[in-house]
């Protein structure tokens, strides 16, 4: 696919069972005179991945924040799991947000809470997940927190505070918190930013594993082409417990390149690499950022 200006991707009408997990329909957002999102439209279904590339300030983080209603768009419609996000009051968004996990750019861990308390936070505070209005028993919370932290190989940090962990460990703890409620959609904002390549690959492997174990929809904002390449071409095989190269039929990852709030490019990895546009090319090479 060639660069579009703006790229308005109209999703085909789907039967109810194939309801898009996320759908943006001509979304616009500006801060004063500065556009943050311009005519943004796309949709994605369960198990699909979107890798969002683009220059700093191109609207990548805004895309994630508007998706869950943390920022309200000026116009357009956003829906999650077939339910409208735009126009809802904050209190009405909690139920929808409980189906979404988010890893923030800065980690977003509460620095006054231990790692275990941070990971337990969504289990104890997302009231829409509670059965009969009761929070889960402490033993269940502890077990799920341990499982989640074991998943990211941080089971030894339960009683530590975020400030006692390295950047990579904080990011992994953030992933543990994002997936502890087994959400159907997970949003990752620059999960590998500022990390060394080995730690960055470990993080991407964890994201892959989380995606393929639960068939979650994933939107990943990143500066590194390599992250997208791994997400697009590899999958976690639950039976062998290993990360393997995906077969062509399993390729469900599409790439977005954003520029000044516009969806400048949307396509597969092959289309991204084949693009002749100089702006797109900047993000389509190993080592690009």
């Amino acid at each position: 696919m060639t660069p579009t200006e703006p790229a308005v991707v109209q999703p085909p009408q789907a039967p109810a069972s194939e309801q898009p997990v996320v759908r943006f329909d001509d979304v616009n957002l500006a801060f004063g005179e500065t556009p943050a999102l311009v005519h943004l439209s796309f949709s994605m279904r369960a198990g699909e991945t979107r890798v969002v590339l683009g220059a700093a300030g191109s609207g990548k983080t805004m895309l994630l924040k508007t998706a869950v209603g943390l920022i309200k768009p000026d116009s357009g419609h956003i829906s999650l799991f077939g339910e409208e996000v735009t126009g809802r009051k904050e209190s009405q968004l909690y139920e929808l947000r409980s189906k979404v996990g988010i890893l923030f750019q800065e980690g977003g861990l509460f620095d006054s809470l231990t790692i275990a308390e941070n990971v337990a936070y969504p289990l104890l505070n997302q009231f829409t997940l509670h059965k009969n209005g009761q929070s889960p028993p402490p033993e269940e919370v502890e077990q799920r927190v341990r499982e989640s932290l074991t998943f990211v190989e941080l089971e030894h940090t339960l009683d530590k505070f975020p400030s006692e962990l390295s950047g990579g460990m904080r990011r992994r703890a953030g992933i543990a918190r994002a997936i502890v409620t087994a959400p159907q959609l997970v949003l990752y904002d620059s999960p590998t930013a500022g990390l060394d390549p080995i730690t960055a690959n470990l993080i991407i492997n964890l994201i892959l594993k989380g995606r393929d174990m639960r068939n979650t929809a994933t939107i990943m904002v990143t500066h590194r082409y390599q992250d997208g390449h791994l997400m697009a071409n590899f999958r976690y095989n639950p039976s062998s417990g290993k990360i393997e190269r995906a077969e062509s039929s399993q390729l469900t990852t599409r790439f977005f390149v954003m520029q000044e709030g516009r969806l400048f490019f949307e396509g597969s990895e092959a289309e991204l690499r084949a693009s002749t546009d100089s702006y797109v090319q900047k993000f389509a090479r190993p080592g690009s950022s």
Partner: protein, 252 residues
């Protein structure tokens, strides 16, 4: 033409909106009792020493300064009355509130501002918690409870400071000092002496929270928010006391 008013009006409007939500949450579930107690400890116990110290010395200074003027009229025996009325009506509430504004409005603004710039507030919203319910309302309740109590302590220690001077330097007996101090106070004085810190507490907590929660611009922004919170809270303390004083003076 009135564009220069747009910013302050918008700020005030947002402040009122935040205040409305903070007050509404007092009667709404969930309630974060642990956070309220934690804040009472941080504000009340944390400020106790400095408020006591300033209360005591304001009484000392008041008695010393007024003794010369009263001596001119041979009315040094009325020192208890002067110290009592001035402290309970005005100096106790204002000094205690200014100290708490300096100490806690800044603390609240910097804490919430840091949470804002490290995306902890966004994370809280994303994880199903209303940050106003979790962060603002507990601080509002805690401040509204402990600041009047701190003021009572400051008033009392101020009177003790006044007695210290009256008894030690002005040869006024203990019973004379305390009886003039006590008799001078009317319900009107006590009402305004407690109403003022209650109103100041609301302003300090909400101003601190407002500037903290609306912090932008990274760590520099946290510094700016902290400064603004202290300055704005202090100015509002003087504005409110200036508005209330004529009302209570006219009430007699």
């Amino acid at each position: 033409m009135l564009d220069f008013l747009k910013g302050p009006v918008e700020t005030f409007q947002e402040f009122l909106f935040l205040s409305g939500r903070a007050f509404r949450n007092i009667i709404r579930s969930p309630h974060y009792a642990d956070d309220i107690l934690l804040q009472m400890d941080a504000i009340g116990v944390g400020s106790l020493f400095i408020v006591s110290l300033i209360g005591f010395f304001s009484g000392v200074v008041m008695a010393l300064q007024m003794s010369r003027a009263l001596a001119t009229y041979g009315a040094q025996g009325q020192i208890g009355q002067i110290v009592s009325i001035t402290l309970v009506r005005e100096l106790g509430p204002v000094l205690a509130s200014l100290l708490v504004a300096g100490r806690n409005a800044s603390g609240i603004a910097s804490e919430l501002g840091s949470m804002r710039v490290t995306e902890q507030i966004d994370a809280m919203r994303a994880l199903g918690t209303d940050p106003i319910q979790k962060l603002v309302t507990p601080r509002l309740i805690a401040m509204a409870v402990v600041l009047p109590l701190l003021t009572i302590i400051a008033d009392f220690l101020g009177l003790v400071g006044g007695w210290f001077i009256a008894y030690g330097m002005l040869d006024i007996t203990t019973s004379q000092y305390w009886s003039t101090a006590w008799r001078a106070l009317e319900y009107n004085d006590l009402t305004q002496g407690l109403l003022k810190p209650f109103l100041f507490a609301i302003v300090i907590a909400l101003v601190g929270c407002y500037y903290g929660i609306n912090t932008t611009g990274g760590t520099q922004g946290v510094g700016r928010s902290t400064t603004k919170a202290v300055v704005v809270a202090s100015v509002w303390i003087f504005i409110i006391t200036s508005l209330l004083d004529p009302l209570f003076v006219n009430l007699g």
